[in-house]
Symmetry: C2
Subunit: 123 residues, 2 copies
DNA sequence: AGGCTGGATCGATGTCTGTCAATACAACCT
DNA sequence: AGGTTGTATTGACAGACATCGATCCAGCCT
């Protein structure tokens, strides 16, 4: 079981339809923060679109102009945020997406069908 | 200026289906970074769910245990990211959501229908 | 066992960010 | 004009973050 619905899921249809309370905001912010770096964004997209749903670190590291510890650090942050998951197989470590997490974010950013037509929608 | 659809839209069905290139990542990261703070997340959700699609700063500021300049600073960051827009009406300033921006983020985080069933989906 | 390669952790450093008090700017109201 | 209230800007500062080199751990191969 992935640790969702412990207490904060199922209640929040999105941040666009009702004000977030402090606890929800505190839980969500680190997720977005993890996405708030170009390197991590690229890492995540490489992992998400990888053949077989996973990518070897050995394929990720050389794709950047950054040191190997730096890439490892970014992967750790993405993993701690629950966006990706890792598995060691022999010498190599493979990362794959945790779709539940990105799904949740997508949900949160999707406004309900009855979104209150923003008055001055002209343009 | 909000850097939308100048050149990078319409091409990227999402970061989950194909690797982002450096330019796309550099453009998206600041958006997520703007969401990566609990205060800004709450501000955004208060604005998005406000009556009439807009909220007066005078209603936002007292909702936090933070100084008025700090709230103003966060609003500025959200505006610079293109997530909200402001309008001065008399003495008061009103903020409202820019739905195109949140829509774009939601799109980007939504995986395509043919998402590659993550191998170990057992449980 | 000893050596080698892939990856993570540690410690240090420069930059960015969130916060505040003080101040400036804008619009209203005598 | 002068005072008052709402909002933005400035300057300063502590804590967080991205990055690196050096080192350590895990698994492979003679």
């Amino acid at each position: 079981m992935l640790g969702q619905d412990d207490d904060s899921d199922g209640c929040c249809p999105g941040l666009l339809s009702a004000p977030l309370d402090e606890a929800q905001a505190a839980e969500l912010a680190p997720l977005f923060k993890a996405l708030g770096d170009p390197v991590r964004l690229r890492l995540l997209s490489m992992i998400a679109s990888g053949q077989g749903g996973e990518v070897c670190v050995c394929d990720l590291t050389p794709a950047f102009d950054l040191s190997q510890p730096t890439i490892s650090h970014h992967l750790k942050l993405l993993r701690q945020a629950g966006l990706i998951d890792s598995e060691r197989r022999g010498t190599w470590v493979y990362y794959r997406l945790v779709p539940e997490t990105t799904d949740r974010l997508a949900d949160i950013l999707t406004r309900p069908a009855d979104s209150p037509a923003p008055a001055g929608a002209a343009s």
